[in-house]
Symmetry: C2
Subunit: 273 residues, 2 copies
C-alpha cells in the first residue's frame, strides 16, 4: 500500500520516531510516524468519530475525558463536540507530533486550542501512574503495540486507567485489524479482562490503514452495555453531524465477522449485537 506524495511539509526525527506531514494526491495532508500512516485529511473523521462517539454516547454524561496519544488532535476534536465535556486532557509522548500537527494539520489540531483542553507532553504510562485526577472516559489513541507504545497495551497501564476512571467510567482503545492482528486483539482483551468486569470490541472500516477492517476495544468499570445502553434519540437530538458515525453504525460496529467472533468470543462480555 502506498500513497503519492506531492510535497513534504514537515520531516524530522523527534528522538522517539520519524515524523512527517506530507501533501498527498487524493488523500489531502497525511501524517506518518516512522513511515506508518497515522491519518489522512480525507478519512481521519472515520477513525476519530468511531473512537470518540461510541464511549461518549454510551456514558450518560461524560464531563472529564483523558486522551492518551492522539497528538494530532482529531480525537480531542470529536470529544469536544459533546457539550457535557468540561475538560479534556491530551497526554502525548512526542512533542514533535503535536507541533507538526499544530503547524500543518489544523483540520485536527485546531481543537487543541480550545479552552477546555490541556495538552501534556508526557509518557501516557507515567501519567496514569502518577495522576490523581479522575476521568469519566479514557481514550487510548495509540499506535501499534511496538516500540515505545508497547506499555500502552500492558497490565500495569490498564490497572492505573481503571483507578483513574469514575465508577461508571469507560475506556476505549485502538486495537489493530482483525484481518492482520487477531492475536494482538486477543492479548489486549485478556489484559482488559484482568482489570474490568466486561470487555467488548467493535469495528469500523478504514480507507488508509492496511487491513481495512479495524477495531477498538470497549471496557466499562460499571455495568454499561455499549449496544443496549445506546439511546438513538440522544444521538439524533444531539444535532451532531458526522461523516461516518450514526446510531445504526454504532450498534452495527459490535457485530463481528464470524472469524473474529469465533476467535475472541471467550474473551467478550456478551454475544455480539
Amino acid at each position: 500500500m502506498g500513497f503519492r506524495v506531492e510535497r513534504t511539509l514537515f520531516s524530522a526525527d523527534s528522538g522517539l520516531q520519524h515524523v512527517a506531514v506530507v501533501e498527498s494526491t487524493g488523500f489531502g495532508r497525511m501524517l506518518f510516524n516512522d513511515g506508518a500512516v497515522m491519518l489522512s485529511e480525507r478519512d481521519e473523521r472515520v477513525y476519530h468519530e468511531m473512537i470518540a462517539h461510541v464511549p461518549l454516547f454510551v456514558h450518560p454524561r461524560a464531563q472529564r475525558v483523558l486522551v492518551i496519544g492522539g497528538g494530532d488532535g482529531g480525537t480531542v476534536r470529536e470529544v469536544l463536540r459533546h457539550p457535557s465535556v468540561t475538560a479534556c486532557r491530551l497526554v502525548e509522548i512526542d512533542a514533535t507530533v503535536v507541533s507538526a500537527c499544530r503547524q500543518h494539520l489544523p483540520q485536527t489540531a485546531a481543537a487543541l486550542e480550545d479552552s477546555r483542553v490541556e495538552v501534556s507532553v508526557e509518557d501516557g504510562v507515567a501519567y496514569v501512574a502518577r495522576a490523581a485526577e479522575r476521568y469519566d472516559v479514557v481514550i487510548v489513541d495509540s499506535g501499534d503495540p511496538a516500540g515505545f507504545a508497547v506499555p500502552l497495551f500492558g497490565d500495569r497501564f490498564y490497572a492505573d486507567v481503571e483507578r483513574l476512571l469514575t465508577d461508571d467510567g469507560i475506556v476505549v482503545s485502538q486495537c489493530q485489524s482483525p484481518f492482520n492482528d487477531l492475536t494482538a486483539q486477543a492479548r489486549l482483551l485478556e489484559t482488559l479482562g484482568r482489570c474490568f468486569p466486561r470487555v467488548h470490541i467493535y469495528n469500523y472500516c478504514n480507507l488508509t490503514y492496511p487491513g481495512a477492517l479495524w477495531s477498538f476495544t470497549f471496557a466499562g468499570k460499571g455495568p454499561r452495555n455499549p449496544v443496549e445502553d445506546l439511546d438513538p434519540r440522544r444521538v439524533a437530538d444531539s444535532g451532531l453531524s458526522c461523516f461516518y458515525y450514526n446510531a445504526a453504525v454504532h450498534r452495527a460496529a459490535f457485530c463481528l465477522p464470524q472469524f473474529q467472533a469465533a476467535a475472541l468470543r471467550h474473551l467478550l462480555a456478551s454475544p455480539q449485537c
Copy 2:
C-alpha cells in the same frame, strides 16, 4: 495499492481483457483482470459469502439461481452450500477467466464441476434478453462499470432480470465502494428503482479492493425486506460455517455510514437498520 508477485501462473490476453493468475506474497493466489484485482485466496470468502448468503437467507427457499459474471466460481460455490438450490447457471462473458480459474484457482473454481451447475460462456446482457428460464435469485457478480461491463449497470439489463425473476425473486449486484464511487452507487440504485419496487444497499469490508468498504445492491420483486425477513435461527440451523458471514453481520451490513446514508437515502426503500 500493490501486491508482491512471487510467480505468474497464467497470463493471457482473452480478446476482452488481460487475465492473470499469480502466486502472491501473503494473499495466496490472486486473479487480475486488466491489472485490477478480482480476488485473492486469502479474502475471497468475504466477498463471495456476502454476495450469496444475504439473498439466499432472505429468500424463503431459492431453488434456481443465476450468476452473471463471477467466472472464478466463488459465488457459485457459496450458492451451492444452500441445499434448497437445485440449479445454478453461471453466465460469464470471458472463457479465458473460467479456464484460467479452473486450472489455477480450485479454491473457487472447483464448485463449477458440481452437477447442479451449468456454465455458459456468453454476454450476460444477451443471455437475460433471450432467456426463458426463471430464477429465484439473480446475482450480478460483475467488474467495475467500465468497458464491456457497462451494460450490466443499465436499464435494459435490469428490465430483463426483472422479467426472469420469480414473483418473490431477488437480485443482488456488485456496486463499488462508497468511499470512491458514490455517484456510481446512486446511478445503479436509480436504475434498479425503475425496475423494482424496493431497493437497498449493504456493505462489507474488503481487504484487497481499493476502497476497503464495498457495497452490494439488493432489489426484491416481492415485498421481502432484507433485514426484517432474516431469521437468525435459520442461519444457525443451516449449520453453514462461514469465514465472515453470520446473521449479525447480515443485519449490520445494512447500517450505512452517515455520508453514504445521506447521499443515497432518497433512493432507498427503508430507513437503515
